[in-house]
């Protein structure tokens, strides 16, 4: 039996995101919301582990009431129940405050976990910090950038492959643990008809700040030491140089330019 908690986030579909040219703010209005892709991989991995070893999967999210849609999707993929932490007091949280909120909920509702799975990062802010901070707050080990997971529940350990710059690390670690998973780990499944129907009877518990308790100064904006100086779109790429002519001349010219720019000697 392996009990897991999967942390997910409902994010705007970045493919549809626009930036207001005047204010440089991200225009959220009218942008459809989706389940964060890396988190979907997390759910899939948890379901595969459950299918192999048994156990229970709880999905956890912090967000506005409409994030229920993303949680329901997780249930249709095979998660057992879901908890949505939703309160104005949680709003405008940075990764630290978010991690505090999620960690507190895990302790309060699923302290029997063996495994916490988070997506590597959310596609909206791309910080990739929340998962790691949850592990720190819960004082458990964590491995990020995980591309392969092998569980040994009897030995209470996990062997994971983690991708770093130019090599792959194989790490053996004890349970309980938090894993940050990324693309390439698995191919998330499509929900089946029966699981969609069964999911109608699964619980999505909505928890507010009163119920969660804890230190009010550590939630939301108050608990967020990060401040955003400015949001701006990256400058558009300047047009490249295109040389035409025979191979010999163009290559000679190319080498000349590269030497001039001190890119080669």
């Amino acid at each position: 039996m392996v009990n897991s908690v999967v942390c997910v986030k409902q994010v705007p579909d970045v493919a549809e995101l626009r930036i207001d040219p005047m204010t440089h703010n991200v225009i959220r209005e009218g942008v459809p919301s989706i389940l964060n892709p890396d988190d979907r991989i997390g759910i899939e991995e948890a379901v595969r582990i459950k299918e192999k070893h048994g156990g229970r999967i709880t999905v956890l999210s912090m967000g506005p009431p409409q994030a229920k849609a993303a949680l329901f999707e997780c249930l249709t993929m095979g998660a057992d129940n879901a908890i949505l932490l939703s309160d104005r007091a949680f709003a405008a949280a940075d990764t630290l405050a978010t991690a505090y909120t999620l960690a507190r909920a895990i302790k309060k509702y699923r302290n029997d976990f063996d495994l916490i799975i988070c997506g590597r990062r959310a596609i909206d802010a791309e910080t990739g910090q929340t998962g790691i901070q949850i592990a720190e707050q819960l004082d458990i080990p964590h491995v990020a950038y995980v591309k392969n997971v092998e569980l040994f529940p009897e030995q209470r350990k996990v062997v994971v492959k983690r991708e770093v710059e130019d090599h792959i690390e194989t790490i053996e670690a004890p349970l309980p643990i938090l894993l940050g998973v990324m693309e390439g780990l698995n191919k998330p499944r499509l929900a089946t008809l029966r699981e969609i129907i069964r999911s109608k009877n699964k619980e999505i518990k909505v928890v507010n700040v009163v119920e969660l308790g804890g230190d009010l100064n550590l939630y939301g904006l108050k608990g967020s030491p990060t401040w955003v100086a400015k949001v701006y779109p990256p400058p558009p790429k300047a047009g490249g140089i295109i040389k035409s002519g025979g191979t010999r001349e163009t290559v000679t010219e190319l080498v000349k330019i590269l030497v001039e720019k001190k890119l080669i000697n």
Binding site: E73, L193, R194, E195, I196, I197, K200
Partner: protein, 431 residues
Amino acid sequence: MDAEGKFDAIVVGAGPAGTTAALTMARGGMKVALLERGEYPGAKNVFGGVLYRWPLEEIIPKFWETAPLERQIVDHRFMVMSKDSGLLLSFKVDGRGKAPYNGYTAIRAKFDKWYASKAEEAGVTLATSAVVDDIIMKDGKVVGVRAGPGIENELYADLVIAADGVNSGLAVRAGLREPPSPDQVALGVKEVVELPAEAIEARFNLRKGEGTRMETMGCTHGKMGGGFVYTNANSLSVGVVILLSHLMELKMKPYELLDEFKAHPSIEPFIEGGKAKEYSAHLIPEAGYKGVPRLYRDGMMIAGDAAYLCSYPEGTNLAMASGMLAGKAALHAKKNNDFSAKTLSVYHEMMNESYVIKEMKRKDSSHTAMLNNPRIFGLYPDLINEILADVLHVNGETKTAKHKRAKSKFRDKVGLLRALRDAYSTRGMAP
């Protein structure tokens, strides 16, 4: 759903037909699954027209008090257009009345969601993002549906109702009909143009909350079809509908037709300054009474667009009526615990006696003419506009001379006998 994945009935498609059927059966005590391929009911919908009170009122009394509706229709307009002029008829009714009104504009992405929630309240199990692609047969009888590989994607039931829209893969799979031919469907292209409510009311001469529906003919290059403008709360639905086979002959892109329509001097002032919010296209059944297939077989019935039960500009209400009768037939079958074709044939019999089929039958007389007579959508609208332009133009020439010219134009281009014959052959077009 029991452990074997079985319900009493499965309805595929949470549009007006499917939701009505599911609601009717659930109220009669049946365990019903309503499967919708979209993310939510209405997500795949393109409709931008009028929802009539009948028969929805029979299903949800006083629906207008809670349903998401746009405007009550008090103004019915009909325009006969030529390239650059238009003769407009407006019939205004209910103007000072109180709710309930006879019809309302609705945005189906909102309405269908609300309507399906009523079915859920009645006990229907609604599943969204559920893409059913096949029926399951056993011993010549329909016993379930399939949404992908494996047993987990199979659902079983005594009865399957396919309300999966005009392309109805399920009705085709069940051998009840063929995929639509280009002669049996029209393509509707529609734009939603955003405008402030006050601007809409001023432009259409409406009181607050009132709405106009406008149908036009003469904007499809002589082909079977027409244009429409419907007023929503804060937007207009503007579009053109044309028989698919005629569109193919025309060799025009659908959006080109819509652009022409929007630029027409009789239409442009309505939408001027508005912001195009969305653009969509959909097939509309145009198969007529003769195109209506058999509506049942062992373990299965079909309703709404899936059964071509649509008669432009009515469709949503006809779909609801068919869904309601399918639901009643299902309850009858449940009572007898017999879902054979013989028992389910009561559905088709009830349909034959209903407004839906009777109305389609009445209109069918004009169907052939509309399909084959290019005068109706081209010559007549042009001629009417040409004659009016000439007669109303004051330039010193006597009206007597103009009337005489009008008469000879009419005689040369049509002739009394032919006009009478055309009028008779299209009598089904009468509102």
